[in-house]
């Protein structure tokens, strides 16, 4: 039981990381696997949740907020990230936008093999866009979110955090 809890990534860990790095807005498309995280974000008075209709919007809304001096983070799933390629290119990479993108890694398994093509193409997609990424699977990996954010600030480029535990702690 204890081991199982250690392996879980709690939504509270992401909230703590977001607060630590000064996030003001989360631009997101809610999905069933991250419902508890969504509810938790809505409860934070320092955080404004901006739901969008399609993932390509998320980078654009975030760019506008960044221009306004805010600190937005995009929270989407890998399927939507792949749909949003033109926005990642035109609204984040081309603008030198230090955008942190937290991406649910649908289909991720530690075994390497997965029947889910969303997972099969996720890392090749990131490599094609030359996006650096960090894997976060459980609470102990939480500080990687801050590391990824610091990298965005240093490089003036988007950096991705892949969340490889969206089937456990996020959906109570």
């Amino acid at each position: 039981m204890v081991d199982q809890q250690v392996e879980i990534l709690r939504p509270e860990t992401l909230i703590e990381e977001f607060k630590k790095i000064g996030v003001t807005h989360i631009i997101t498309i809610p999905d069933s696997e991250t419902n508890y995280l969504y509810e938790l974000m809505e409860q934070q008075d320092w955080l404004d949740v901006v739901p969008v209709s399609r993932e390509g919007e998320s980078m654009s809304v975030a760019l506008g907020l960044n221009v306004a001096g805010k600190v937005p983070v995009v929270l989407i799933q890998n399927t939507g990230m792949m749909e949003a390629g033109d926005s990642i290119r035109g609204m984040a990479l081309d603008t030198g936008f230090p955008l942190l993108m937290v991406v649910g890694y649908r289909g991720w398994t530690r075994k390497g093999a997965t029947p889910d093509s969303a997972a099969v193409y996720t890392e090749p997609f990131l490599n094609a866009f030359r996006l650096n990424y960090y894997l976060v699977e459980h609470d102990a990996d939480g500080p990687r979110i801050s590391e990824a954010f610091e990298e965005t600030q240093k490089t003036k480029r988007p950096v991705v955090v892949l969340v490889g535990d969206e089937y456990h702690g996020f959906n109570r």
């Binding site: 739901p51 907020l65 001096g69 033109d86 603008t95």
Partner: protein, 194 residues
């Protein structure tokens, strides 16, 4: 229909300190009309995404009036944006649509259902606070003061003639005098955003 330049000339009288974004072939006339270019912003760069970027800007600057002159071709590529905008309901956001019914920059091919589509009805259905349709300059001009003073998000659809460009892109007249990055830096400097 109303010539795009006439739309901008009428709007300019009520602009005040609003931050203004323009798009598309119709938008090029704004450069001849604006008197406050440091508050003009260009956030295009991906298909249909300037609307969402300007929406984000409006959310981040709730004390500033933010005006976006969109085009119907761009809006159709990112139509879910009107639901996203209505969902957050930014009071400071005015969303104009210059509807020329076609993709003027690629030779004038019509957008889907260009003759019958009603964008203002779509915005109203999405949940905008107020929506308008104009194809007469006088009606537009007499409504602009109210439009600029009411709580948003406000949607204003205007029928404009197409200004089709068929020259190769490299041979077309360029109106853009500042890059996107320059407009961002100028606006931040104007608003003292570090």
């Amino acid at each position: 229909m109303i010539e795009s330049k006439e739309v901008f000339t009428a709007f300019q009288q009520y602009r005040g300190d609003a931050i203004v974004s323009v798009q598309g072939t119709s938008g090029k006339h704004w450069a001849d009309v604006t008197t406050n270019p440091n508050r003009d912003i260009s956030l295009g760069g991906a298909m249909g995404q300037s609307t969402s970027a300007i929406f984000g800007l409006a959310l981040g600057l709730p004390d500033e009036k933010v005006v976006h002159f969109d085009t119907e071709g761009a809006l159709l590529m990112n139509l879910g944006a009107i639901a996203s905008i209505a969902g957050k309901s930014p009071k400071n956001f005015v969303h104009f649509l210059l509807d020329n019914g076609c993709y003027a920059t690629t030779g004038g091919q019509p957008v889907p259902n260009s003759e019958d589509i009603d964008y203002a009805a779509m915005a109203a259905g999405a949940g905008y606070s107020a929506t308008y349709n104009f194809d007469d300059l006088e009606e537009l001009a007499t409504s602009l003061e109210q439009i600029m003073n009411e709580d948003g998000p406000v949607f204003v659809a205007i029928k404009v003639p197409a200004e089709v460009e068929n020259l190769p892109i490299g041979m077309r007249e360029r109106r853009v005098t500042r890059s996107r990055t320059q407009t961002i830096n100028d606006l931040r400097s104007e608003l003292k955003i570090s």
